[in-house]
């Protein structure tokens, strides 16, 4: 399987594997798309302006990591939604709907249902206990050094895997949309992201994300409305036209999840993985208190849900307006494989649809928004990775919680630059590699290492350092091993005949390993420090419930 076939599945930002429906074949570089480039230049100019403005307001670590804690619930909800609405989920989900109809909806629902759980269980304690990173919460009453190292490792691993996927995906996508060389595209993304994060910190990163989320919702709304207006806003007539072209199968589930174990394991990965993604968790520290944290999730769930409904309409719109439309037909591929392949593969469905409903200008707009989306998402990721290095490793472990603020800021900026360079190098290195497993692995690690330690530290009195470190590490190791011996790496990449572990999604197993081993090791831990950690639970629980003593909490 070559990289071009697999890369867009990757930037889907997901664990779902579908072999078809990606940008396929040799990437044919487009001629320079002038209107897209003009709009993109405007976006970059505006965001660099924001970065300049934010840089003047980013003086302390608190400003850098959390935008000073002054983001409102609505703004944060938009930013969280922006983190979630990557170019991948926009193009990937609409491409999946275009290809398989109903399956695209199943997939987006899986992404959404983690949010209510995050609100009910995590958002508030996280805001009340933490300062800059989720490791603050996990290590609240446990021993700082081992827990911070474990959490930082989980964060950095998740961030780097995700970054590789985003960089490779963005390089290809930009090559296709803008006609830029792959290397230039990757370097451009890397450099802009370093600029946003090092100078503007969380404030710039958040506003870049908000603006992009707004533009993406605007563009997607316009496309969905344009499609519906062709059908007098009747879903039945849209669907029946689509069914005429593609058959009645697109109206029902079609094998995205086939057996119950895979179905549940995928659900576990999506739900718990979301609740363990460091760049998402970090956003809860940018608001002033628990009230705003709750509102953030409410708005984010609304925006994301709305966005998924739009992508569903867009996917069907592409079926009726792009599929079998000679203008978007890949003639060369049709000659070899038959059928009606579209230029660039199925994940370009939304891009072609933008041209079909709005001409070159709107195509340029949507392309620029897709580019902006990549930039905003990689910036958030890099900031989360940098804070794990500077706040968790440097300030809390190396300096024992007593780091000079100025120094800590310097370290975080150096970490950002290093991560940015690593991302560029990896992006170029992995251009032709099969990296189909990396996002699945990132989600599995988030669900199996980050999430169990975080949730148990909040709610389970008997959790001890030993239990968290051993259980979290085992969860991480299990996730890595099961991905390697599973169908994607063992069969598709290493070309073995049969997978040792039969399921694509290891989360059900690796998450269970993590919880069970944390439990067993914690309850058998009779050390003195374990006793102290249990005693400290009550005070922590009170703070997590009421916010009394919390960072930045305002008295009412």
């Amino acid at each position: 399987m070559n990289i071009t076939r697999s890369f867009l599945f990757l930037i889907l930002g997901s664990v779902v594997v579908f072999a078809s429906g990606t940008i396929e074949g040799e990437i044919t570089k487009q001629s320079l798309n002038i209107s897209a480039i003009a709009m993109f230049v405007i976006f970059v100019g505006a965001t660099l302006g924001i970065t300049y403005w934010a840089a003047k307001r980013t003086k302390s670590p608190k400003d850098f990591y959390t935008a000073g804690g002054g983001i409102t619930g609505l703004q944060n909800g938009m930013a969280i939604a922006g983190d979630y609405m990557s170019a991948a989920s926009f193009l990937g989900i609409s491409g999946l709907v275009y290809l398989k109809g109903y399956d695209g909806l199943i997939y987006s629902i899986g992404f959404l249902v983690g949010w209510p759980i995050i609100l009910f269980m995590i958002a508030e304690p996280l805001r009340n206990l933490g300062k800059y990173s989720f490791a603050d919460v996990a290590s609240y009453r446990l021993r700082q050094t081992p827990i911070r190292i474990l959490s930082a490792f989980g964060s950095i691993a998740t961030v780097i895997l995700y970054l590789i996927a985003q960089m490779v995906g963005s390089g290809k996508l930009i090559q296709l949309l803008f006609g830029l060389e792959y290397e230039i595209a990757v370097i451009l993304v890397g450099v802009l992201m370093i600029l946003y994060v090092t100078f503007g910190g969380m404030l710039a990163t958040t506003w870049v994300q908000i603006i992009k989320a707004f533009l993406l919702l605007l563009g997607a709304t316009f496309m969905a409305l344009a499609v519906m207006s062709y059908y007098d806003f009747s879903f039945e007539s849209l669907f029946s036209h689509a069914v005429e072209l593609k058959g009645i199968e697109i109206m029902s589930p079609g094998g995205l999840v086939s057996d119950p174990i895979s179905a549940i394991s995928l659900a576990v990965a999506l739900m718990f993985g979301t609740a363990g993604l460091p760049h998402i968790l970090m956003r809860f520290f940018t608001v002033s208190d628990a009230k705003e944290a709750r509102k953030s999730v409410f708005y984010a769930t609304g925006f994301i849900g709305y966005f998924y409904m739009l992508t569903f309409i867009i996917g069907f719109g592409a079926i009726v307006m792009v599929y079998q439309n000679p203008e978007y037909l890949d003639v060369a591929k049709q000659a070899i494989n038959g059928g009606s392949p579209i230029l660039g593969g199925n994940n370009m469905a939304a891009i072609h649809l933008s041209h079909a409903v709005g001409g070159n200008l709107f195509l340029g707009f949507i392309s620029a928004v897709a580019f902006a989306t990549i930039l905003a998402v990689v910036s958030g990721l890099t900031l989360a990775g940098a804070s794990a290095i500077s706040h968790d490793l440097y300030a809390s472990v190396i300096k024992d919680g007593d780091a000079d603020h100025h120094k800590e800021m310097q370290v975080s900026k150096i970490a950002t630059v290093v991560l940015g360079i690593v991302a560029i190098i990896m992006g170029i290195m992995f251009e032709t590699q099969n990296i189909a497993f990396v996002v699945g692995l990132a989600f599995a690690i988030a669900a199996s290492a980050n999430f169990p330690v975080l949730i148990l530290s909040m709610y389970w009195k008997n959790l001890t350092t030993r239990g968290a470190v051993v259980g979290g590490s085992l969860g991480l190791a299990t996730a890595v091993v099961l991905v390697v011996v599973g169908p994607i790496v063992w069969v598709d990449i290493l070309a073995n005949a049969e997978a040792i572990f039969p399921y694509k999604y290891p989360a059900l197993f690796s998450v269970s390993v993590a919880f069970i081993s944390i439990y067993l090791i914690s309850i058998t831990d009779n050390s003195q420090s374990a006793q102290k950690e249990r005693e400290a639970f009550e005070a922590q629980f009170i703070r997590s419930q009421t916010g009394i003593g919390a960072e930045g909490a305002t008295e009412h």
């Binding site: 959404l112 009910f120 109206m251 709750r294 409904m309 009412h556």
Partner: protein, 104 residues
């Protein structure tokens, strides 16, 4: 937070009420969304043709579509319900607790 304060808050009836009502509310809503979502996923795994049933006898729209959209809408509504209650009732209780501490 010192031991004395911990004991005091622990015995505060408002605090006990807050923890009790909020936990049970959060757990109920979590179970609701989990049951709905897993029923949906397991229907797909075990009986996908059920969702293929047409919504109208002469139409193509399957009942799977309104059901899927309803899961999305439900997720949003539940976050709204929780946020509304937490931002009023639970925050009022929290503020009462905070004020009691300040008074002494």
């Amino acid at each position: 937070m010192n031991k004395e304060l911990v004991e005091k808050i622990k015995l505060n009836p408002d605090y006990q009420k807050l923890v009790k009502t909020r936990s049970s509310f959060a757990i109920k809503l979590s179970i609701l969304i989990l049951v709905v979502y897993f029923s949906f996923i397991l229907t797909i795994a075990f009986n996908p043709t059920l969702l293929a049933t047409p919504l109208f006898s002469d139409g193509v729209t399957s009942i799977g579509i309104p059901i899927g959209i309803s899961v999305i809408v439900l997720a949003f509504i539940l976050t709204g319900i929780y946020t509304r209650r937490a931002n009023h009732e639970f925050d009022d209780l929290t503020n009462k607790i905070k004020n009691t501490i300040k008074e002494d």
